[in-house]
């Protein structure tokens, strides 16, 4: 993997048009990239207006709808982002785009209502359709709204979208409620917009391309969709002994769907061999994948070492000392695409060895019970510290030197679960999330969040940041919901730009390799950077004692959580794992429903049902829903196909990388644990 490609990650896809434009000028994208297929700007405007002026009852579809309760927020942010990119006013296109987003924002509010009514809510709240909770505007409508939509969707929406979407700029009309910039982890700040400003306007560049393809051609067939979705899927089943699985974990499914190229998310899973328990984690990198890659390789070793008793540490140290074979510490469960960087292994090993040597020295002889929570916190902090130190010290090998710098200057969040019997610890740093799927006695699913997001939505985090810095920085430390106006997660590995003093940063960059020195971004010091560090890798650890009703744990990066509500996630996985669909039956009651409306509704429901059985992997199934869900909560192949056929440089505008691990618990074993007491 070349350095240049890696660097691309440091910049924002929209604003880094310089290199990309160059690439495209030499090699135009294949015509199959239809959604972008160019068309004259005027037509594009017309399409937007048409989409925007669609009758209110179309309410937009898809993503906005999925964005329950966030519509206003995102639209607002989108506008803000637009103005901050400095693109505003560049041309009329852009204004149109903003306007259409605003229109969509309004629609999104409606969608919220609509979205809710498709979800299974409380039984029969006076609504003929038992599957629904009360639609917000049901009073105004003679028929149950659900019955209405199929018709609307089938007839009118398809026409509207037919004109608006098929011809050009699918992505504009396609519901993407947030502006791309707003979702990127790094905000292109006006201060450095100069150096990353595109040479040509993004819209010009888009429109500059000419494709002769027919509009429909970009559609993917279902097998194509499946091969994309399943490319990274991995399943692990805990082996059985004597036909019995004595572990509290049955196994796990994991999968990733890239939006960045290359993907910046990482995942890891391993069984501890010297202690009991299993480690699972998702890592969401930003400004490149170097940090998330390093953390995914190293963190579990740090945790495992922290958990090891004194004797074992001594044993290991003696083995290393005398050159004997090492006791294996971890058994990895990896997808072939999850790699280890061979070059840095020696370096990483030495750092790790130093860590356990220190542990041995600190903990002389007194064998105390190791506290998992403490071990997790120590491991996180220690690894971050090592990353930082390695970058400061540098390495004689120029490649390694460059690598450790890239690791340190990029960042990664981590959400790690340690499962040992019924003891579940979740250590979280950043905005990935761990969600427990609990099956209630009536068979329905509810979500229990086991981690707190470390971002601007978390009051306690805001509070913490303000306390850690002088009062006069209270306003600047979090701006536009971002740390120093730049970084979305408030805790992360790496990101030394938010940790080191300005002096240290300058020193390291100056002594660093040329690549680093040439990059404007690394040189850039965040504004209002007065009292570093602003960022920490210290995790928040949650303990949960597993109960038989706790059926599974979902670890996922924010790419999933921003497209789906946690309740939906848990329901979809729960229904997938139990293999049945808790669809409430429909009753007509005394309402006016026509055969056609009923037919439309039933067809929707059936489509929903059949999508459950398409996947062998719960994580894949979840991604399919996250990307392809329409306003009815059913996977819409057309939509899925559009989303997956986005060219890689555009994918990031519609979604973030998604990484999911679904751990399935063994209720029998958990129940047996419970009965023992």
């Amino acid at each position: 993997m070349g350095g240049a490609i890696e660097w691309k990650g440091l910049s924002d896809p929209v604003t880094s048009q310089s290199w990309r434009g160059a690439r495209f000028s030499s090699a135009p994208a294949p015509p199959s990239r239809g959604p972008l297929s160019a068309s004259p700007p005027t037509r594009h405007c017309a399409a937007n207006q048409e989409a925007g002026s669609a009758p209110a009852r179309t309410y937009g579809r898809g993503r906005e709808a999925a964005w329950r309760g966030r519509g206003a927020e995102w639209a607002g942010r989108g506008r803000g982002a637009a103005s901050r990119t400095g693109l505003r006013g560049r041309n009329a296109e852009w204004r149109h785009r903003c306007r259409s987003l605003l229109v969509r924002k309004k629609r999104a509010v409606f969608c919220r209502a609509r979205r809710m009514c498709v979800c299974p809510g409380p039984r029969r709240s006076g609504i003929p359709i038992r599957s629904s909770s009360l639609p917000l505007f049901s009073d105004a409508m003679p028929a149950p709204t659900q019955l209405f939509f199929p018709l609307v969707r089938n007839c009118e929406l398809s026409r509207i979208y037919g004109t608006a979407c098929y011809c050009h700029h699918k992505h504009l009309c396609c519901p993407s409620p947030y502006l791309p910039q707003s979702r990127l982890r790094y905000m292109p700040h006006p201060a450095y917009a100069t150096f990353c400003r595109p040479k040509e306007n993004w819209w010009q560049y888009t429109h500059g391309r000419r494709y002769a393809s027919t509009p429909q051609k970009f559609y993917l067939t279902p097998p194509q969709v499946n091969s994309i979705l399943k490319a990274n899927e991995y399943s692990f089943k805990v082996p059985e002994f004597d036909g019995k699985n004595v572990s509290s974990i049955l196994g796990f499914d994991s999968n990733q769907l890239p939006a960045n190229a290359p993907i910046e998310d990482r995942r890891s899973a391993a069984t501890c061999l010297q202690t009991r328990g299993m480690l699972l984690g998702v890592f969401d990198g930003h400004a490149g994948c170097a940090c998330s890659q390093a953390v995914s390789e190293r963190l579990f070793y740090y945790i495992a070492v922290s958990l090891l008793p004194h004797e074992t540490l001594l044993e290991i140290e003696n083995a290393v000392e005398s050159g004997r074979a090492l006791l294996p510490i971890l058994q990895w469960h990896k997808h072939p695409n999850d790699y280890f960087s061979k070059e840095a292994s020696k370096l990483y090993f030495n750092s790790l060895r130093t860590y356990w040597q220190e542990l041995i020295d600190l903990n002389t002889g007194e064998s105390t019970d190791i506290d998992v929570k403490e071990a997790l916190i120590n491991a996180f902090k220690r690894l971050d510290n090592d990353i930082s130190l390695e970058a400061q010290v540098g390495d004689p090998n120029s490649f390694l030197n460059y690598l450790v710098l890239r690791v340190a200057f990029s960042g990664a969040t981590a959400c790690v679960a340690h499962v040992d019997g019924v003891d579940l610890h979740v250590a979280n740093t950043g905005d990935s999330r761990a969600m427990l799927g609990v099956q209630e006695e009536d068979g329905s699913w509810s979500a229990v969040t086991l981690s707190n997001d470390h971002n601007a939505q978390n009051e306690r985090e805001l509070e913490r940041l303000k306390l850690e810095h002088p009062k006069n920085e209270a306003k600047s430390v979090v701006k536009q919901d971002r740390l120093l106006g730049l970084l979305m997660p408030f805790r992360a590995f790496g990101d030394v730009k938010f940790k080191w003093s300005i002096d240290l940063q300058k020193r390291v960059i100056e002594s660093g390799p040329d690549q680093l020195n040439d990059n404007e971004y690394t040189k850039f010091i965040p504004p209002n950077y007065h009292t570093p560090p602003y960022l920490t890798a210290e995790p928040e650890v949650t303990y949960h004692r597993l109960r038989p009703q706790d059926k599974f744990l979902v670890l996922a990066t924010d790419g999933l959580w921003e497209t789906m509500h946690r309740q939906d996630v848990v329901r979809i996985v729960g229904e997938y794992l139990t293999g049945m669909h808790h669809q409430q039956p429909i009753a007509v009651g005394g309402y006016k429903v026509t055969l056609g409306q009923m037919h439309g509704l039933l067809t929707e429901r059936r489509a929903k049902m059949s999508s459950v059985f398409e996947d062998q992997n719960a994580a894949t199934h979840l991604i399919r829903h996250a990307v392809g869900n329409n306003e009815f909560g059913a996977v819409d192949h057309e939509r899925l196909s559009k989303m997956l056929s986005l060219p890689e440089e555009l994918a990031r505008m519609y979604r973030d990388d998604i990484t999911i691990i679904v751990v399935q618990f063994n209720s029998h074993v958990v129940g047996a644990y419970q009965n023992q007491e």
């Binding site: 007509v588 056609g596 009923m598 037919h599 039933l602 059936r606």
Partner: protein
């Protein structure tokens, strides 16, 4: 047919009546006193006040049986009857069903006039649509059968369909069957009308709401039927006992439970499935009440007009069985509607009538329908308990069959037999083995979709299989056997050679030449030239033994042929009824002076047993034993069978030592006590081996290994069928039934009228001999039929003589020897006024015949005797068997 009818409006209309009766209930204690008093005795107690119970009561009272009590646990005409879709359709596959529906139609038509109760009878006609050519063939077959029993019908083009019913989308149709006299009506009202008429004739009706006659305060539930010495003596209800001679179980989907509640359980194999149909509000311009009923079997739906809107339901592919645990509910409670389940049917409805999209839904009705293991209704007397009659399991055709079935059952009770052959519907076609709840549940899940599936020749049920098997099952299966099921017994159809691939199950459905044609040909050829083994263990085998001459006496009384033959001889004979008709057709071997071995068709196991039990004196010195399960039967067919057997037994098997129709116990291989009989049920030379089951594998292995050098191979029933039909062998249950006499099928030789014993049916036969027969069993050889290209005959095809309808075929097969299709069937001689006249050999021989296969007539040659000359026999004495069978 398609059940159900229901309306909210109806219920609303009925509510004042209910109020009235509740006030009556409250005010008069006299009524209660009267109500509580069930009669102490009656001749007949009918349980069930649906359309079946009321129809039986109606017909009994018409025939003069007035002392009848009808008990209904809930309200009259509740249950499936109330929910019935109210479509009367005569387009049915079985002739007997067509006749029942036709009679019902005529009965209901005049019911309103007779009773003054409105039944809502409207003659709308019905249109059965065909989306495929195969479906059209199936409809054409029905059409040709309907026409010959006098029900007008025609095959019409899609264009004509559109004229008859403008709302229909006809673009995907290839044709349709139009039956203009079919009707729609309210089945609940029909039941009420029948009950009212019966009540006027003196039938006492007890139900909960005092609709007609006597009110009973609470539900009157029949707890069980009292039986003494295999005879119904009374009914125990929760209101007291009623002594009675006859009990009729018309309890619909509860009939199974009720049957089992007896001390001597009566097994009535039926099971309910949920059935859904849709009611809509009126169409903008309300549909005419004369709008024809539409059946779209390929779309699995039926559609009728209903109060200006439509009523549409269907038989889905994935039925939902219900009440498997036998939860007896008072009435069918309001079951849950299941729209998701109905979705395929709704799609199909909207595809058929796209304009209905805007029609408003009134209700989705869910009401269980009862289905039987073979999709035919159940009627008749219980084999175990005399006087216990059953009429249930209508497969959602209760309204269509109600009148006819009630009539046949009433005839059965009053006269002892119905006026038509109803063997196909007889309760005794089932054994106890078909009444496991699991079996029923699984089977009805196959049967319900089959209502609208294409019914092709030689189609076998796929569920509820491998229940009874021969000990050789696994061996044969490993050698490529394909199986069919009869009476729960697995029988090989043919053996697929290892290098041959057959079509998938669904693809093999055809009305044309089947894919196994070549396979069976090679099996037949092997039977003709070398030797084949057919496992025929399924045949029913009884042993009758006595201490004295009782066995011989009773058999002489029951059977038409002379059984007083030397020990070791086999006699082909018929078990006749009073009318001379065949109750059973069997071969009896005299094992010794006092012991007989009886071989009958597989499905005779229950019927024959019941018949024997009924007529045998309860004499402890006479022992009847069912030994079906004790013997494995191997049929060695072919000229080399004699060589195989003599090599295995070291005994001379030549005709001189072992004449035809002879039975001997001998050793085969290491095994002793094998009953070897020189007959093959096909007219070919060979032997039947009756082997005690523990020796079965050994004997089979020995036969196969010794037979190797004689070219032995396995064969199946299709080969047997081809062989026996080309030899003009009639089989009971297919060709012969209770209304056919030996004289009518050329079996005078099997009847010894002067054997010095007045056997059952002798008088009728004497009479017939004097008067001549009114129908004659005839063999037809199709002349201009192209086996590869033309539709194959099956059974039930009309026979035309000089252009006049004279009868129907009963079975058919391809004769590999004649290289022609052979059909067997009865020829009648109708006068111009439709009366039956004597059929003489001359009448048969002097006529030009045609067989109508799905509307296409093929020329046929009629034969009264088999082509003996065509078959060259290596064994001279085989002719004895043949000539013995068919008279000289």
């Amino acid at each position: 047919m398609f059940c159900r009818w229901l309306s909210i409006i109806r219920r609303r209309r009925a509510s004042p009546a209910r109020r009235r009766c509740s006030s009556a209930r409250g005010s008069t204690s006299a009524a209660e006193a009267r109500a509580a008093a069930l009669p102490a005795q009656a001749q007949v107690v009918i349980c069930g006040g649906g359309i079946m119970g009321t129809s039986v009561a109606y017909h009994l009272s018409k025939m003069g049986w007035k002392d009848v009590v009808l008990l209904e646990q809930g309200r009259l005409a509740a249950g499936s009857t109330r929910f019935c879709a109210g479509i009367l359709s005569t387009a049915r596959h079985l002739t007997i069903e067509q006749k029942m529906a036709d009679y019902s139609n005529k009965l209901y038509q005049q019911l309103e006039q007779e009773t003054g109760i409105q039944t809502g009878y409207v003659r709308t006609g019905s249109i059965s649509l065909a989306q495929t050519q195969d479906r059209l063939i199936s409809l054409k077959r029905i059409n040709s059968r309907l026409n010959v029993i006098g029900i007008p019908s025609e095959i019409i083009s899609p264009k004509k369909v559109a004229e008859l019913h403008p709302l229909l989308n006809v673009h995907d149709l290839v044709g349709a069957l139009h039956v203009p006299e079919d009707a729609v009506l309210s089945s609940a009202d029909v039941a009420l009308a029948l009950a009212s008429a019966a009540s006027q004739n003196g039938v006492q009706i007890y139900d909960r709401t005092a609709v007609l006659h006597v009110m009973v305060n609470d539900r009157t539930a029949v707890l069980h039927v009292m039986v003494k010495k295999g005879q119904v003596t009374g009914v125990e209800t929760d209101k007291g006992q009623i002594e009675c001679q006859y009990f009729v179980n018309c309890a619909g989907q509860w009939a199974y439970e009720l049957g089992l509640s007896n001390e001597e359980p009566v097994s009535i194999p039926l099971h309910a499935c949920e059935h859904f149909y849709l009611l809509t509000r009126p169409w903008e311009t309300p549909l005419q009440s004369s709008t024809p009923t539409v059946v779209d079997p390929d779309g699995r739906i039926y559609i009728r007009n209903w109060q200006g809107g439509i009523l549409s339901g269907g038989f889905e592919k994935n039925p939902k069985p219900i009440f498997t645990e036998g939860k007896n509910q008072l009435e069918i409670q309001n079951l849950q509607e299941d729209w998701d389940h109905f979705e395929p049917l709704l799609s199909s409805l909207l595809r058929r009538m796209p304009e209905l999209e805007t029609l408003e839904i009134l209700k989705l009705v869910n009401c269980p329908e009862t289905f039987t293991p073979d999709m035919r209704c159940i009627m008749g007397e219980s084999p175990a308990v005399q006087g216990y009659f059953v009429l249930a399991g209508m497969n959602s055709a209760g309204l269509s069959f109600g009148g006819g079935a009630g009539r046949y059952l009433a005839e059965w009770m009053v006269h002892g037999y119905p006026s038509e052959n109803v063997w196909e519907l007889d309760l005794k076609r089932f054994g106890a083995l078909q009444s496991s709840r699991t079996f029923l549940r699984h089977r009805v899940m196959e049967v319900m979709p089959l209502m609208y599936d294409l019914k092709v020749p030689r189609w076998d049920f796929q569920t509820g299989r491998q229940l009874r098997t021969s000990p050789l099952y696994d061996r044969l299966d490993a050698q490529g056997a394909r199986w069919m099921e009869k009476h729960g017994f697995e029988r090989p159809k043919y053996f697929v050679p290892p290098d041959k691939d057959l079509l998938a199950l669904e693809q093999s459905k055809t009305f044309y030449k089947p894919d196994w044609f070549d396979i069976v040909e090679s099996e037949v050829k092997c039977c003709k030239e070398a030797v084949c083994v057919i496992d025929m263990s399924s045949f029913t085998k009884f042993e009758i033994t006595s201490t004295g001459d009782q066995a011989l006496e009773i058999l002489q009384y029951l059977f038409s042929n002379d059984l007083d033959v030397p020990v070791g001889h086999i006699v082909h004979t018929g078990m006749l009824n009073e009318g001379g008709g065949y109750e059973n057709d069997c071969s009896i071997a005299r094992l010794n002076k006092r012991s007989f071995f009886m071989i009958s068709p597989t499905d005779q196991q229950v019927h024959c047993w019941a018949w024997l039990k009924k007529h045998m004196p309860s004499d402890s010195s006479l022992l009847l034993e069912d030994v079906t399960w004790k013997y494995t039967a191997l049929n060695l067919i072919g000229p080399r069978a004699v060589d195989v057997l003599s090599e295995l037994s070291y005994a001379p098997m030549t005709p001189d030592h072992f004449p035809s129709l002879f039975c001997k116990e001998m050793s085969v291989g290491y095994a002793n006590g094998i009953r070897v009989m020189s007959m093959t049920h096909t007219g070919e030379p060979g032997f039947m081996l009756y082997i005690p089951i523990e020796y079965a594998l050994h004997v089979y292995n020995e036969v196969m290994s010794v037979g190797q050098k004689y070219g032995i191979r396995n064969a199946g029933y299709y080969a047997l069928r081809s062989l026996r039909i080309e030899k003009f062998f009639a089989f009971w249950g297919q060709d012969l039934n209770t209304l056919t006499t030996p004289l009518e099928c050329g079996r005078e030789s099997r009847v010894k009228l002067e054997k010095g014993m007045d056997f059952i049916g002798r008088h009728a036969l004497l009479q017939q001999k004097q008067n001549g027969v009114y129908k004659r069993f005839t063999m037809f050889i199709l002349d201009d039929h192209d086996t590869d290209l033309d539709l194959w005959p099956w059974w039930g095809e009309p026979i035309y003589r000089n252009g006049q309808y004279v009868g129907k075929t009963t079975s058919s097969a391809y004769s590999y020897t004649l290289e022609r299709h052979v059909c067997l069937g009865f020829v009648q001689n109708f006068s111009d006024t439709g009366e039956e006249q004597v059929v003489t050999a001359d009448f048969i021989n002097r006529g030009e015949y045609e067989i109508d296969i799905a509307g296409h007539r093929f020329q046929a040659k009629a034969k009264l005797y088999p082509f003996t000359s065509l078959f060259t026999h290596k064994r001279r004495k085989d002719d004895v068997e043949l000539s013995d069978l068919h008279g000289k």
